[in-house]
Amino acid sequence: MIRSTHLPLLITIATFLLAYTLCASQYPAMLSTRVVANLLTDNAFLGIAAVGMTFVILSGGIDLSVGSVIAFTGVFLAVILRDTSIHPIAAFVLVLAITISFGAAMGAMIHYLDMPPFIVTLAGMFLARGAAYVLSTESVPITHEFYDTLQSLYWKAPGGGRFRLTGMIMLLTFLTGIIVAHRTRFGQNVYAIGGGLSTARLMGVPLAKTTIGIYATSGGLAGLAGIIFSLYTSAGYSLATVGVELDAIAAVVIGGTLLTGGTGFVAGTFFGILIMGLIQTFIVFDGTLSSWWTKIVIGGLLFGFILLQKGLTWATTLRRKPATEFAAQS
């Protein structure tokens, strides 16, 4: 049975399939595994960051620090691999620890100081970007054989598509995200907080633990996205990934998650990412369109989905059933 809460997700999937069909009908080459593989590889870092953003938005919050944290992670890795001899894996662990604690600190501020997430993460955005600048203002190349090994890991599909490690990590992140959201108490508590903070408190949801966990997750995933981004570009640059948090928010909303929190799906975000990537790919294929059309189409889609959500909320209230229907006749 189709539940009304599932409808936005289904519409997102339908939109994706429709868009893909339209694209493929114009450029049959877009059906090749090569395009599909690139869609995953090119959007891997954005997808991972968007998973974290989904949890944040589900809880009714927002995380504006994501783009800066990705840039910081890249610069940090580049600088530490250039200046020291520690192994990249150790550097990864270190940077993840930093970004997770950074997110957790923001979560703690939001919860204990009762501050709006917008302001706290805005401060976090400036902090992380500033820290990146302090490390280096120039683009620092990463040259390490371990990076080369990781970059050369791929599975070649028939048709020439190269499914790289980064894309796989994104898929894995989404899969984990879906399970955490729907099959763990933490995930349920995220939805509960998004549904109403004071009610959630009355129902015994551990607010501090959950809020800190949410922003730690988002920070950690932004760190992971930063690692993936450094693998993708083989460099760390403090001016990179400006505004990526907004792309992530867009993907989450197109994926059918309500900005007010409480309703939505991690899987929806995946399709939101694919839709945005698809538009980009189409413009590349076309060759004559300005790449700014991506933004225009995404803007239009966002409007469409916001209207859709309003309509659905309204329809649910209208459909509300009278009580007497349900009383058992015993």
């Binding site: 939805y191 009355l202 409480g262 509300r320 009278p322 009580a323 007497t324 009383a327």
Partner: protein
């Protein structure tokens, strides 16, 4: 029967002090398994303070709470829940975005290999709700169901979590008659299971329908506990008020009605209210009676311009006027106290003073602020005249009790010196004392020559103050009662007559 067993919960000498006030003064309360115990009292009598001491929201300053003979001191709602005391409030404290099953099991979901098992949870939720006589799909979001169903889900959750004592704090305040029956059927089932249930409400009829015993509080003290089988409503009301309610119906002044003030012809809006004619004279209270959804609120809204009429015309003292918006209506010196006080009436975070002058200031225009001295003078005068009980004019109005909020709202409109005052359910959700005061106020305003239109679901109340009663049904005016015709039974007959005609 009930008294033969050991009590589940015993409160002995509970006291609670607030700065400058004694909220509870050595209160005793005994609950037996399998009884519904009504807790009654005017607003401010100490009901909610007592409940908050029981649920751990407040720390008591003296006294003992014994649960199954052992002393307890819950420090939080969670604490008391674990001990066995569950609470359900008037506003459903569940999450509308989660499914029914998720709401029931939030925080204690059944797991399989570390992950929540949705399937198991749905089955368990279905079984649980079936025990409560509710057959709904637990996979649907809670928001898909009506408030009554949500209320039952809240009760189910509270009982599952606690299981000894259930406190129902005005659970029926926003339900209609059928929905109340649904909740009551659940309460009966729980009673049979041996739970002790505390029931708080303003509806005395409901108290007598469902409760076994009642404890009446006044000014923080227990005035008495009665077996309801051997008690009359009058006795309970007397206990609550501490004085005899005089029979107001007799001393109603003869209708000294003046000139026609407002005349509506063929007024209505398609799909909202059938076109109707209505004349209100100065010094007249026209009552609007009818069942829930019969068009009382709609009539009030149409006349005030809150709902735009799409046909008919309105005449004020013979001149044609437009009533396209509340602004226009206010300009003609109309006033409306809405039914939904919380959402349509008060501005919760503004002070009482600001709330009182709001309408007057709005009519004046925002660029001509009322002088501060005038504001204070007005606010103080109305607080005194209407006997609004508050600590300070600066306190946010949401902190006042329901009755006092209603009086402040009345003050807001009286400050605009209206010629025509519309009251929609002026006594909903307020205690008996304030109830009587509001009725007295309506009579006084009428004697002063104001024209009033009062919509109410309480027929006794309409009988008490109306010079004419218009009976509505299915968004249509069906009968007008005048003078001696105005009796509760005639109103009921007017509503029922048409129901039967329709059924044939």
């Amino acid at each position: 029967m009930a008294s033969a067993t050991e009590p589940v919960l015993e409160c002995r000498g509970i006291s609670k002090f607030f700065p400058g006030a004694i909220a509870l003064d050595a209160v005793d309360l005994t609950l037996y398994p399998g009884e519904v115990h009504a807790l009654l009292g005017e607003n401010g009598a100490g009901k909610s303070t007592l409940i908050k001491c029981l649920t751990g929201a407040y720390r008591r300053d003296a006294g003992k709470i014994l649960l199954d003979g052992e002393e307890i001191s819950p420090g939080s709602t969670q604490d008391s829940q674990k001990l066995g005391i569950g609470t359900v409030y008037q506003e459903v404290n569940l999450l509308p975005n989660l499914t029914v099953a998720e709401n029931l099991f939030l925080g204690r979901q059944p797991t399989r290999r570390g992950l929540i098992s949705q399937r198991k949870m749905l089955t368990m939720a279905g079984d649980l709700l079936a025990e409560f006589g509710l057959r709904i799909n637990p996979a649907e979001p809670l928001s898909a169901y009506s408030v009554a169903v949500q209320q039952v889900v809240a009760i189910a959750r509270a009982v599952e979590l606690s299981g000894k004592v259930l406190i129902l704090d005005e659970p029926t305040a926003s339900l209609d008659r059928d929905e109340v029956q649904l909740v009551f059927s659940v309460v009966e089932k729980l009673k049979a299971r041996g739970l002790a249930i505390v029931f708080i409400t303003h509806f005395l009829d409901q108290v007598f329908e469902i409760s076994d015993r009642a404890t009446v509080l006044r000014n923080g003290r227990v005035i008495g506990t009665r077996e309801l089988k051997n008690t009359s409503q009058t006795e309970i009301v007397t206990l609550m008020l501490g004085r005899q309610l005089e029979d107001r119906i007799q001393d109603r002044a003869p209708a000294r009605t003046g000139d026609t003030l407002i005349e509506l012809k063929d007024f209505g809006k398609r799909g909202v209210m059938e076109p109707f004619d209505l004349t209100v004279r100065k010094g007249e209270v026209v009552g609007l009676a009818g069942l829930l959804g019969s068009g009382r609120t709609e009539t009030a809204g149409l006349i005030f311009g809150a709902i735009q009429a799409d046909q008919g015309e309105a005449l004020l003292e013979g001149r044609k006027i437009g009533l396209g918006s509340p602004r226009e209506a206010v300009a003609h010196r109309f006033a409306l106290c809405p039914e939904d006080r919380k959402n349509d009436g008060i501005v919760g975070d503004l002070s009482v003073r600001e709330n009182i002058i709001l309408a007057l200031q709005a009519r004046q225009g925002w660029f001509r602020p009322l002088p501060k001295a005038k504001v204070n003078e007005l606010a103080e005068a109305y607080v005194k005249a209407l006997d609004i009980r508050l600590a300070s004019l600066d306190m946010p109005i949401r902190l006042l009790s329901g009755g006092n909020q209603q009086k402040a709202l009345l003050a807001r409109w009286l400050a605009t010196n209206p010629v025509f005052l519309i009251l929609d359910e002026p006594t909903r959700g307020i205690d008996v004392g304030a109830h009587a005061e509001i009725i007295a106020l309506i009579e006084k305003l009428r004697e002063d020559g104001m024209a009033l239109l009062v919509a109410s679901s309480e027929m006794e109340e309409l009988v008490a103050y109306s010079t004419r009663v218009i009976v509505l049904r299915d968004r249509r005016q069906v009968r007008e009662l005048k003078g001696d015709e105005i009796t509760t039974s005639n109103i009921v007959a007017a509503i029922a007559d048409d129901t039967m005609a329709e059924a044939v």
